[in-house]
């Protein structure tokens, strides 16, 4: 019995270095991306994350075009493209009457088209698949270091700007009336989104890296009424999804990226049903009430 469990759960990680790297990489990603996802969701920018993920493509493609399948140029390229789109869309929404959803859509669509164009100029479809879907099982030291650095920057920034970030989500006009931090915090936050998406795309691909950001956050929303526990819970759900997804991909030989995101998807659906603020609980509690 114990041996079966060991074989199922521990052995893949104990025996194979590539699984250890994949685990380390994806756990680190969860640590940074999940709290960022919580704030994205609370700012009603869940789909902006998706848009940003697409926006990164031309940068990564440019790196790929000039240097081939190398992590550093592709990452830096992705970072630059993401920041241009985030700043551009953010600036348009801050300084014109257009709302962020529209400006973001415009910027990311342009960016995506450029990206697809660039990949198709040179790459075969195999390369395109790699950029789009990533390979968590092929993370090298360089990639792990990069992800580690991104997580560190993310956690430190969140710790420093936490109060301003909460205030900017909860009551932006109030923050503007007591401090000039409103706009800077918004852009710093968009920067963190880009950073974490770029960190994720080597492992999960540009399209799915946003999944590890949003799904645990969306699931955690069904369990708690406060931001701090929500972030912690999102990270834990992210951890669980990574472990489950990697094991699934190992045992059933599924592609690792989708396996991780689908594991998070399972937690999401379970949360909708069974969460303390989920469907079933709301139905049951509604039948009973207190006197005051």
């Amino acid at each position: 019995m114990m041996e079966t469990l060991y074989g199922l759960l521990i052995a893949p990680f104990a025996d194979f270095a590539f699984m250890q790297r994949a685990l380390a990489g994806s756990l680190m990603l969860s640590l940074g991306a999940c709290p960022v996802g919580v704030f994205l969701m609370l700012r009603r920018m869940s789909l902006s994350g998706d848009a940003m993920a697409h926006a990164i493509l031309p940068g990564a493609a440019a790196g790929f075009l000039f240097y081939g399948l190398e992590i550093l140029p592709m990452t830096i390229g992705g970072l630059i493209a993401g920041i241009i789109v985030a700043l551009g869309a953010g600036a348009v929404s801050r300084f014109t009457i257009q709302r962020e959803d529209a400006s973001m859509a415009a910027f990311y669509l342009i960016s995506l088209a450029i990206g697809v164009l660039m990949v198709s100029i040179r790459g075969s479809s195999v390369d395109l698949m790699h950029v789009l879907f990533g390979t968590v099982l092929a993370l090298n030291n360089e990639a792990l270091t990069l992800i580690g650095g991104i997580v560190l920057v993310t956690l430190v920034s969140l710790a420093i700007f936490w109060r301003a970030l909460v205030a900017e989500c909860l009551d932006p006009l109030f923050l503007r009336s007591v401090s000039r931090l409103g706009s800077p915090v918004h852009f710093i936050f968009l920067g963190l989104v880009v950073l974490n998406l770029v960190g994720g795309f080597q492992a999960l691909g540009t399209l799915l890296s946003v999944g590890l950001m949003m799904l645990p956050a969306a699931a955690a929303r069904f369990w708690t009424m406060r931001v701090e526990p929500m972030c912690v819970l999102a990270v834990l759900i992210g951890f669980a999804s990574c472990v489950a997804g990697l094991l699934l991909s190992y045992h059933v030989s599924l592609p690792s990226g989708p396996a991780i995101i689908l594991s998070a998807g399972v937690v999401y659906f379970a949360s909708i049903l069974f969460g303390t603020r989920g469907i079933l609980r709301a139905r049951i509690v509604h039948h009973r009430h207190r006197t005051a």
Binding site: C169, L170, D171, L173, F174, S177, V178, L181, R226
Partner: protein, 268 residues
């Protein structure tokens, strides 16, 4: 220590090159309690935004006396009520001027939050999620936050909307307490009876000040009539207001410009 808290110099505030406050001059005394009244669109909220600095002037300036900290309760809050926060989290934002971005909340800070809630009659509401509050309770929560900000200049924009009579009484008492503490207070109010009873000074606006001074004088029938004749709509082809095209002096007089602005008050 100066006697002036706020100075308006030829202040014009507005949107899309149309003025909502037009060439306002004058001063607000330190420790004064002023009601700002006027019809819809007469520039009351715009003036508040201009004072607090979230709206940049199109011309002229608002000068705050050095060291004056403002607290602002907007008419249309951008508060996100679906945000997972408790009453205590919302009120604690009022600690920002004291603690800033990184300062830790101390034991005293938490006591101050509880006391502020107690003062608006919401003792024991600390742990309530904000999406379960009624409109009036939320308004009182925001009052508690203003209380906690401990500001010298307090700007309240229609604070009595959606608030029941008893609560209006409580909030007025709170405002009078602030007045007693020598804080400078500006309140946008619609209920003129309330103004007559509780506010020593009044600014009657209709894009330009119609009258400004002691409440009894300001709210005289002829002034109210003049304010009522004010033309609310923007006119797309209103002539441009030239720099030397107006006179401005101290407040409480010179309200009607003696030339005709397309966008100014006009005889009906």
């Amino acid at each position: 220590m100066t006697k002036t808290c706020l100075t308006f110099r030829d202040l014009t505030l507005g949107y899309n090159s149309h003025p909502a406050i037009h060439h306002l001059d004058g001063t607000i005394r330190r420790g004064s309690l002023t009601a700002v009244v006027g019809a819809n669109g007469s520039g009351k909220s715009t003036l508040m935004k201009g004072i607090v600095g979230v709206l940049k002037p199109m011309a002229g300036t608002v000068v705050r006396a050095p060291g004056v900290r403002a607290a602002y309760l907007p008419q249309q809050s951008e508060l996100d009520r679906s945000f997972p926060a408790r009453v205590v989290d919302l009120v604690s934002l009022g600690l920002w001027p004291r603690r800033g971005l990184l300062g830790r909340y101390t034991r005293e800070d938490r006591d101050a939050v509880s006391q502020a809630l107690m003062a608006v009659g919401l003792g024991g509401f600390e742990k309530r999620p904000i999406d379960t509050l009624s409109g009036g309770q939320l308004q009182r929560t925001l009052f508690a936050r203003v209380l906690l900000q401990d500001a010298d200049l307090i700007l309240l924009d229609e604070p009595f909307n959606a608030v029941d009579t008893k609560t209006v009484g409580d909030l007025i008492a709170l405002i009078k307490r602030w007045h007693g503490e020598e804080r400078t207070i500006l309140v946008v109010v619609h209920d003129l009876e309330l103004v007559r009873q509780n506010f020593p000074e009044t600014l009657l606006l209709a894009r330009q000040p119609i009258a400004w001074g002691e409440t009894k004088e300001t709210l005289r029938p002829e002034n109210l009539l003049r304010a009522r004749r004010f033309h609310e709509a923007w006119e797309e082809n209103a002539p441009w207001c030239e720099p030397d095209d107006h006179k401005h002096g101290g407040h409480a007089h010179d309200h009607g410009h003696d030339h005709h602005h397309g966008s100014g008050p006009r005889a009906a």
